[in-house]
Amino acid sequence: MADVTTAQDVVTYRESVAEGIAREMRRDPSVVCLGEDIGAAGGVFKTTVGLFEEFGPERVWDTPISEQAIVGAAMGAAMTGMRPVAEIMFSDFLACCWDYLANEIPKVRYMTGGQVTVPLVIRTANGGGLGFGAQHSQSVENWALTVPGLKIAAPSTPADVVGLMASAIRSDDPVVFFEHKGLFASKGRPAPDGHVVPFGEAAVLRQGADVTLVALASTVPLALTAADRLAAEGIEAEVLDLRCLIPLDVTAVLRSVERTSRLVVVEENPYQGGWGGTVVSVVADEGFELLDAPVKRVAGANVPLPFADALEDQVIPTVDKVVDAVRSLATY
């Protein structure tokens, strides 16, 4: 991961998760948390530290290992006046309650003709790079993308964690909130009071005229580091942090490609069925005339994730792979 820490970077991404939740719990008594080991233990990633102490057992609930019951109960509570924030410890475990994410939560409003709303947040630790192996390392934001009716956020900085968490918890729509495991220890500026990052607005983190790099969560620092290296070679990359997959800020992508005529999508999920395919589709359709070169996707390899660090590096995006992809376009 890129280390771009400065003096103002005093809070971690990890702390910002708890901070973001706490701010909303203070504002709104209908916000309640549930999940495995999130209470006194503060969560296995320490992303809920302090919540149990501040808000007590009626607002921070430890659950059995019952992912279906966790998100199912969150759904029922959301339909009846609460704003639950459910933790699914590792995003891989979303598979254990996938019916709720795929068939129940995103559909109930539509299929009842708008009779109910489901204002809930499902938070989960996503992504690899830590050597947790095939069942604890996946980037599964693409799973969520297959399902119309879910909003999807995936912050890359501590301040965005807080700002997007505010939007997520205040949203009357269901949100899947991907916290990246590889970013938990990273630091950044603290979010100002009342910080809210609206959904569906990509951030242009770096300007550049030669190529657009579209990134999300863990791939944002990768893209930024790659951009620095490329700058040294005289290639100026524009770096966009999508921040959300739904709503998807394709306008920002198209505007950037208008300037750069080149697009590289950097995504951690596998190439097959990865979210970059949706971004590329829109650009290959609506932005076809803007393009001067093939569109590239630096994505996870189409293999399960191996345990050994060196093997994992072979199959997830790295700075080198981003740099290589951009170089191949620059000479185009």
Partner: protein
């Protein structure tokens, strides 16, 4: 114990008749090509829905399955809203976006019919949790079939409800069949719901699901415990579906005579018998049944006359803002 007067009972009988007539109308409309898709009729199960609702209070929640017409109507959906839904009319209960399997009357606490077996049990638990968090006196009921007791969500829901001592009633409508397979052939215990309750520390009763008063009494006891903070109850109501599983099922897998035996204990026959015992005249019973029949006749006419689904509705109601925008 809730006392059930003859007047109460007559009202229950009338609602059950309303359901029975609606199911019959749905069946006939299907045969005449006006109802498409699939339907899972609840004729035979009426007493469970009506008995349960009658023991509860306004504002108590219900969560049902794809076989949920009776619950919707018991919670106050009108036959016309339901039939209009099956007939894909814009006046349908779910604006023709849900269909038979997803009847919902949220304003009355009937929070949906769910078509993935067992999935709504945790959701019902969540509504009960919410009632507790909001410190209301509400109870949440999940209705489900015998087949649902073998799916994982059942297990997770019951355990969580028990551990959190939530005001939730798990009401199994054991009609002895899944789709075409007898439940006994795929379940390790005899009473698929009730025999599992002890493994969550939840009290259970097996009840006569064709006797509306028996259902009402059992639910009243369970709801009382729930409201007193004593946690969930499992009720296994034994009943039988008169039609096949769904519209395409002729139910040939039933042993000879089985349907006939159950028809002798038709919930409407049972309630009529109880009414007579309580001194209600045949005329009064017939008057109630006629009122129900008239409502359903009007409902059929009303639904037929209603406009088809509004095409623009395909792109509404995804999000709380009413729209379906997924991108900028």
């Amino acid at each position: 114990m809730t006392e059930t007067t003859a007047t109460d009972l007559l009202a229950l009988h009338e609602t059950m008749t309303l359901i029975r007539r609606t199911e019959k109308a749905a069946h006939d409309l299907f045969l005449s090509g006006l109802v498409k898709g699939t339907t899972h009729l609840a004729a035979g199960h009426e007493a469970v829905a009506v008995g349960t609702r009658s023991a509860l209070q306004d504002g108590d929640y219900a969560f049902a399955t794809y076989r949920g017409h009776h619950h919707a109507i018991a919670w106050g959906a009108t036959p016309e809203e339901c039939l209009a839904e099956f007939m894909q009319r814009s006046t349908g209960l779910n604006k023709a976006k849900g269909g038979s399997m997803h009847l919902t009357k949220a304003e009355a606490g009937m929070l949906g019919s769910y078509a993935i077996v067992g999935a709504h049990l945790p959701i019902a638990v969540g509504a009960a949790w919410s009632a507790r968090l909001r410190k209301t006196d509400q109870v949440s009921v999940a209705f489900f079939g015998d087949g649902a007791t073998n799916i994982g969500a059942f297990h997770e829901a019951l355990n969580l409800a028990s551990v959190w001592k939530l005001p939730v009633l798990f009401v199994c409508e054991n009609n002895f069949y899944m789709e075409y397979t007898p439940i006994a052939s795929v379940t390790g215990v005899g009473n698929p719901a009730a025999d599992r309750a002890p493994s969550y520390g939840i009290p259970a009763e097996v009840i006569d699901g064709n006797d509306v008063v028996a259902v009402r009494d059992a639910v009243a006891r369970a709801a009382g415990r729930a409201r007193a903070g004593d946690g969930p109850t499992v009720l296994e109501a034994q009943t039988y579906r008169h039609y096949g599983h769904s519209r395409t099922d002729p139910a040939k897998y039933r042993p000879d005579g089985e349907l006939e035996r159950w028809l002798e204990r038709d919930p409407l026959t049972v309630s009529a018998g109880r009414l007579r015992e309580a001194g209600t005249s045949d005329d009064d019973i017939k008057a109630a049944e006629d009122r129900a029949a008239a409502v359903v006749d009007q409902a059929v006419a009303g639904a037929k006359a209603a406009p088809q689904a509004d095409l623009s509705e395909a792109f509404t109601d995804v999000w709380a803002d009413g729209g379906a925008a997924w991108r900028t």
